[in-house]
Symmetry: C2
Subunit: 135 residues, 2 copies
Amino acid sequence: MNANDRSHSVVFPLGEEVKSENFSGRVWMKMLTSIESECPVGNVTFEPGCRNSWHTHGGGQVLLVTGGRGYYQEWGQPARQLQAGDVVQIPPHAKHWHGASKDSWFVHVFVLVNPEKGPTSWLEPVSDDDYCILE
Amino acid sequence: MNANDRSHSVVFPLGEEVKSENFSGRVWMKMLTSIESECPVGNVTFEPGCRNSWHTHGGGQVLLVTGGRGYYQEWGQPARQLQAGDVVQIPPHAKHWHGASKDSWFVHVFVLVNPEKGPTSWLEPVSDDDYCILE
């Protein structure tokens, strides 16, 4: 990280770097409640250009953006640009991705809703073609 | 609000002032998801000295502190001091209060966990004696 990034705007801890094929670049995560709890809450920090693959949640998810600039997109819909203070309610089973813009770090808290209703299912990566047209 | 307060540290919208006998002073709330949703999320901003009355939640609650300085206390336990980045997991039916310190605004997001398991039940105010000993 360098002095020009937006990671200084984080409110919650950065946590540990996540090594996963479901992210296109470097990403850090800190669970804020237990992953086993009835309401798992965590903080995710994406480096510029990093986004997760398309995926679904059995019970849905809420995103609370605390810093940087990024996107949320549902399958078949235009991408929505996000910045600090924005909130996304992701319906159960909605195929979607989220992540940073090309030129900014991006930080959000996630709340996993009713995780007992089903797991997170990871699908294909967001194509470079689909990502690169975003402004 | 004046230039010395901590409310500038808020990430999420202030919302509307809440007029309720369950708060000892001025407080503002903005729902970030629908109050009817399976996972109600909202932002609460307390003026200095303002706290809520003792209360319980049927399904529990998570607090995510985004600004200022305040407290969380469970019945029979010492108060815990809170600042930005702190997280509180409130068990179902635990009698508790939260609010600002005497000299600072206090801002937190709340996540109501499993609200279908029971309502929020409001009890007696936190006494001035109990509050005034806090540092």
